[in-house]
Symmetry: C2
Subunit: 292 residues, 2 copies
């Protein structure tokens, strides 16, 4: 089975990502319902046609009519929602999410649902530096990556449906990684990058530096303007992996720093040749790709 | 005295920056001569009208006719040139450079010239990731910063002439910093940024990561594709300052890493709030600004 054209999809959480999902899936012709905390958000989503029904309350009958439920909440809020209302979900439904950490979420979600409905994790690697449904725009998914993170227990149907959601939203590349592989990769590529940017920006009062700052420093610190609640939660939920990646980076930086201290020019050049070679793999930059 | 319209300017070294200087100053109507290692480069510069005379040999009579001499060479090559041929320079001429480190260059250059001609350092904060005179384009200076680095002994005339060169080339902002202030600032804003990018790129074989890499990691590592000879020389010439800046950064990163290890969410959020606040000073990005 794949995602059917008459599948009813519920999106819980209508922020930037949930709102963009709702917009994109409705545009594709799916019947999309929504649950959000604020009445204003629900009214906005209804008014824009992103959802055809929506509530601020969690109603058993309403939740129970959907074939697919997508959670677009912060990881911890998502898990407590599931603890509280998971039993409202239709038996046999497929449940997925959009959170940026997987190992600490996926197994718990599957455990809470206990086979009543099938959970399968997904990470849409897209975002903007603005928040809320008023900034929703499913075009941010075009050209971006979408990672499905099945466990050994997930069914083929769940994998296909989850991948179909990514395809319906226009993601460029759908891949499959285990939750553990995902967290290692995202710990290095995304979370460590944010750690570095925050630490660098925290080094000095920067007001007087603005006049001398060029593209290198600007590019490195762009992501230092950061949503502290979300990223602190994501960092903590991937703690062990992120610490491992940070220590790996710190060791490499120390290697270069020590080569400099010892005036070992050959070692420095060797490290630069390696970085140049590896960076060139990235030279073809896909259009509109985003990852936060 | 300021830079006169009939001042004769010699540019030694006709690579990307020297070539762009020659092009820009000729376009402004100055008489520009050039010295470069390769006959092909000299011929190209003459053919394009970037210089009105040029040689591969260093001829005493030729060098002696210029009022201003600009060195666009790697720092060490520049200092040995000056050792060897400094006495050819016209008595009372003004001499400047384009190197990215100052303390280790400026005092030596002044010492070598021993008052025969007046040296004053300058750092045009512009560049491209390509090299050679065929990529010369003085439009890279538009919107960029140009820093004059006088010592306590420089004359007002030298400062004005050096600033005038920056103005003639179209730099957006001309500032004055002591060589020491310059090196601290550039150690942090530019060299440390390059250290971080190289170390991060060296952490892992990255071919398989390309598929999952988004803008954060791409932005952080753009400058990891690096000219190893030039940057190793620049790093070594600013060794003490760069080690100081790198250690400052490593400490900050360790602070954030330790907060994560201790699950000190409040400390993590505090560091993120500070980085967000400081990064917002940079939000207005000047058009076409470049710094390498």
């Amino acid at each position: 089975m794949k995602l059917c054209s008459d599948s009813k999809i519920l999106i819980v959480g209508l922020g930037l990502i949930g709102g963009s999902y709702a917009q994109g899936l409705s545009a594709k012709g799916y019947e999309v319902g929504g649950i959000a905390k604020s009445a204003e958000t629900v009214a906005y989503a209804l008014g824009k046609g992103y959802i055809s029904s929506g509530y601020t309350e969690v109603n058993k009958e309403y939740v129970g009519k959907f074939d697919v439920v997508i959670f677009a909440l912060y990881p911890k809020v998502f898990l407590s929602w599931l603890e509280k209302y998971g039993s409202y979900i239709k038996r046999g439904a497929y449940v997925t999410d959009v959170t940026g950490v997987k190992t600490s979420v996926v197994y718990k979600a599957r455990e809470i649902l206990r086979g009543r409905a099938e959970f399968i994790g997904a990470h849409p690697m897209a975002g903007k530096e603005v928040y809320g449904i008023k900034n929703a725009d499913y075009k941010i998914f075009r050209g971006a990556n979408y990672i499905v993170t099945p466990t050994a227990d997930n069914t083929e149907d769940a994998k296909e449906i989850c991948a179909d959601i990514g395809r319906a939203l226009g993601f460029k590349r759908i891949s499959f990684l285990s939750p553990e592989e995902h967290d290692e990769m995202i710990g290095f590529l995304s979370q460590l990058a944010h750690m570095i940017a925050v630490a660098l920006m925290d080094c000095k009062e920067s007001k007087h530096l603005v006049d001398y700052t060029g593209n290198s420093f600007r590019d490195l610190t762009r992501i230092a303007d950061i949503n502290e609640d979300m990223w602190t939660e994501l960092f903590l939920l991937n703690k062990d992996e992120l610490i491992k990646q940070t220590d790996l980076f710190s060791e490499k930086l120390k290697e270069l720093r020590d080569a400099l201290a010892e005036e070992d020019a050959e070692k420095m050049k060797e490290m630069m040749r390696l970085s140049s070679k590896r960076r060139r793999y990235f030279n073809v930059k896909p259009k509109e790709e985003k990852i936060e």
